[in-house]
Structures are given as structure tokens and as C-alpha cells.
Subunit: 278 residues, 2 copies
């Protein structure tokens, strides 16, 4: 049963949407938000100095996530979108408790879309080891429909393969076949891409799993959910100005612009480097 | 021309060797030190909360490296070994300036061994993107012999493949063939494994490049250099007690014990979690 989130009375509908991520994979969510909500300001935070989160402990991820939520809340965003599946999986509740504004996350949105899509009531989930071990997708799906069977598979090599740019490479295909073998055995008809990097592998994955498998892209589904929540609460930005996009990161590593542009699907504007405590 | 490093007059020869790394890959260096210097105490620091460094900026790596050096120096180690190639490449000089004790690093040791091994005076280097982009191996090699030709290749997928445990897997073989194609074209006879993770791929890599290629394992070479420096300065621990091994990390992620044991080549003892500022 979903509890509808509410906006505080004093919310400024022209305030930005705050999107946050452990690195730059969350730019796939920004891309989906830009296309679905083209008049909304977006402030993005990527913790590029400490990425990746998918291999860190729950305690560390929670502590880092709280710092980032605070940074964006201080910038008076009207809504938070947790773009990183790993953060959503292990720190989603903590962020919701900390925040006075609605918090959307890729896991809740992906679970909704998957339950709506499956005909056989059997869903596969792929993600980082931490996301999969958290069992957060299975919990979100079973909260919606206790009869759905869920099969999970960690795919730790997909993130580095995407970052290497091997989006349609024999190595990536062989890796996908290896990881998805256990999923094939089960008769799932819907596969959730439970990591912000995976939408870039969608063509290859669709090819590996066959055209009849429904792939759930959580970037698209969370953007859809954001649009629905803003509209149902009368909180869309109704000004028709060109929106402001701000990008904050904790580090600007090698190949950052090239990689960021790949995720964002367009040239990445200038980013600003900031420090977080601890 | 190598400048021999000196120990301060007050050095306690029973003090530990401090080994530091961005994560747990440096345990391959600890393994080599344990075997080469079985009476030395070793204090290891792995920055597992912020690993991997190979994708971060030079400035961030320098700042993190300085924090770790200070942590180990406060523990009064008699010598520092920088096990991480990326740290050695971009923060080696900074650490040497900061430290009153001798500082050995995997790059200097690997360059020495490679120059001694090559007959054709043509050396290949493989490592993380940051290590390769730093050009630190080429500089270290040319400081020893300006006539040697150096060919470098970044192999960003090798670290995640090792961490996935695919040490002898078709995906790893295909990846190695792809990365090493440009090295094959050149007539190198010596290949430096310029990353602490790569020794675990040695059998597969030897197979891919052929048995006549000389592989330089920088964990072994830096342990050899540590032994030489301690002996030539009369700084070996001459007590015949069982040495003390301490392992400090900034995070204990999933599969840490299993992965650590794989690098160390034996059961990983209990580790202690510590926090660093910033």
C-alpha cells in the first residue's frame, strides 16, 4: 500500500528538484526528468570523490547519503529524487525521515512499474551487489503484490563496462549472458534495470534476453512518478522560463565530461566542485 | 640515478613497516613482504570507504594520500611502502616530502626490475587509467635508461574482474586480448603489472602474452627492495618473535574477508575500522 507524500504548506513551486547520486550515473535520471518535466529547475549532486557506493557498507552509505541530503535541502529544493539505487536501497528511509519535502526514489518507482508490467507475476532484478543484497526491490514489490516471484542477480561488472564505453562489445555480451543465465531459468517476463548505469546497456540487454522481455528503466519510471506527484499536488513550475540546471560534484575525475555527456545524452554543462564534511 | 634513502638516527629497528593502499589490493604487497621479511611487523592501511582511487582526480588522490601517510607516521612506522600504484604515481613525491622515514613505492621498484629484465629495451606497462595517464612508470624507467621504449595501456576492467573473482574466465581472457592488442604490435619483451590487483591475473596474462614475455610483479619487486634497504642500513628487526600484523580500513564492505583473503593468500585476520578527516 503506497502512502502518498505531501509537500509542506510553504513550498515554492518554482524551487528546483534535487537529484542525488553516488557519482554520475544519476545523470540518466536527470536526462529523463529534463525530457518529462522541461520547465523544472534541477540541482544535481554527485559524490564523485567517493563513488562507487555499491561496494561499501550500509553504515558508510547511510552516513554519506545524509550529508548529501542535507546539502540539497539547504539549497531549498522542493523535492528530492534519490537517483542511486544503492542509496535508495540502504538509506531511502533515513533520507525520508531527514527531509521535510517529498522523496522519490528509483526503487519505489521501478517496483511500481514492474508490478504493473508483469503478466506472469515473475520479475527479475539486476543491480549492484549492495542493492541486490539489501533485498529492497523484493520488499517494495511484495508490498505491492505479495504473490509476485522475485529473482535477483548482482551484476558488479556492468558499471565498469558502461564506464569503459563497451556498450555493444563482445565482452559485455558474454558478461550479460553469464549474469543472466540464472534469470533465464526462471520464467520472468519483466526485468528491472536496478542501477542508473544500466539504461545505457538496454539495447544489448534486450538482445540478450529476447524482445518479449519487458525491461523496466528506473530513470524513466522515476521521472514519470515525479511528474505525477507534482501535478497531483499543483506543484509544477508554471513559469515558462528556461530552467536552471546546476551540477555539484565532489571530484572531477578523468574523462568526466565525456562520461557525463554519455549519461546525460547531451553536452554536460559546467560542473561545480564542492566539499562535504567527513 | 637513484638516490639512496636514509633512516633517521633515532629509528627503532623493531618498529613496524607501514603499508598503505587505496583499498585491499595492497594486500598482495603485504603477502610478498610477509614472505620476504617474515620477522617484520606490518601495519596496513586500506582506504576502503573511498576506493577506487584510479578514477579520481590528482588533487583528490593527493589529499587522501597525505591523510593516510600521517595516520601511519603517527604510529611510528620505520618505513612506508606505498602499495597502490595510483597513489605512488600521483602522490609519491608528496608523501616522500611529508615523511621523515624512507618511502618505497611499487612504481620505483617495478621500473628498476623492468629495466633489469628487458633485453630488447622495450617495456610494456599496464595499470589503471590514472596510473597510466600520470606517465609515472615512463618517467621512472627513463630516469634509469633513457633509451628504453615504453608502451602503456590502461586496463580499467581488470580491477573489477579480479574483485568479481573471474581470474580464469572467458570474459577476462577476451578483455585481456582486447587490452593487450596494442602491446602485441610493439616488440616488448617485458610487461609490468602496474596495479596491485594484477598479480592475481598473472597465470591468465602469461598465457595471453605467451611464455617468453617477462612479467614484472611489483608486489614482489617492492618487497625485494624493502629487504635490501633494511639490510643495507642495518634496520631489519633482529628479534625472532612472531611479528604483529595490524590491518586498518575505513570501511568493511561486502565480501571483504573473502576478497582480502584472496589477495593475502591466507586467512585475513581481524581488521579495525578507523575514520579519517575529510
Amino acid at each position: 500500500m503506497k502512502i502518498e507524500q505531501r509537500f509542506p504548506a510553504e513550498t515554492d513551486r518554482e524551487a528546483a528538484i534535487g537529484v542525488f547520486d553516488s557519482g554520475i550515473g544519476g545523470l540518466t535520471v536527470v536526462k529523463a526528468l529534463m525530457e518529462r518535466l522541461p520547465f523544472e529547475h534541477i540541482h544535481y549532486f554527485g559524490d564523485t570523490a567517493r563513488v562507487p557506493y555499491g561496494i561499501k557498507s550500509v553504515q558508510t552509505i547511510q552516513s554519506f547519503s545524509a550529508q548529501i541530503a542535507d546539502f540539497l535541502l539547504e539549497r531549498r529544493v522542493k523535492m528530492l529524487v534519490v537517483a542511486c539505487n544503492t542509496m535508495a536501497a540502504v538509506a531511502g528511509d533515513l533520507i525520508k525521515k531527514r527531509s521535510g519535502v517529498p522523496v522519490l526514489d528509483v526503487i519505489a518507482a521501478g517496483a511500481d512499474a514492474a508490478v504493473a508490467a508483469t503478466r506472469k507475476r515473475a520479475i527479475g532484478i539486476i543491480g549492484t551487489p549492495t542493492t541486490i543484497n539489501s533485498n529492497a526491490y523484493a520488499r517494495a514489490i511484495h508490498a505491492l503484490d505479495g504473490q509476485v516471484r522475485v529473482y535477483s542477480q548482482a551484476c558488479p561488472l556492468f558499471v565498469p563496462l558502461v564506464e569503459e564505453g563497451w556498450l555493444d562489445h563482445p565482452v559485455t555480451r558474454l558478461t550479460a549472458e553469464e549474469y543472466l543465465k540464472p534469470v533465464f531459468v526462471e520464467s520472468v517476463d519483466t526485468l528491472v534495470l536496478g542501477c542508473t548505469h544500466y539504461p545505457l546497456l538496454k539495447p544489448l540487454l534486450q538482445d540478450v534476453v529476447g524482445g518479449s522481455m519487458h525491461l523496466i528503466d528506473s530513470a524513466l519510471t522515476v521521472a514519470e512518478e515525479a511528474a505525477r506527484l507534482l501535478q497531483s499536488n499543483g506543484m509544477e513550475n508554471t513559469s515558462r522560463q528556461t530552467p536552471e540546471y546546476r551540477f555539484f560534484v565532489t571530484d572531477i575525475p578523468l574523462r568526466f565530461q565525456a562520461l557525463g555527456s554519455r549519461f546525460l545524452g547531451r553536452d554536460l554543462p559546467l560542473v561545480q566542485t564542492v566539499s562535504l564534511p567527513g
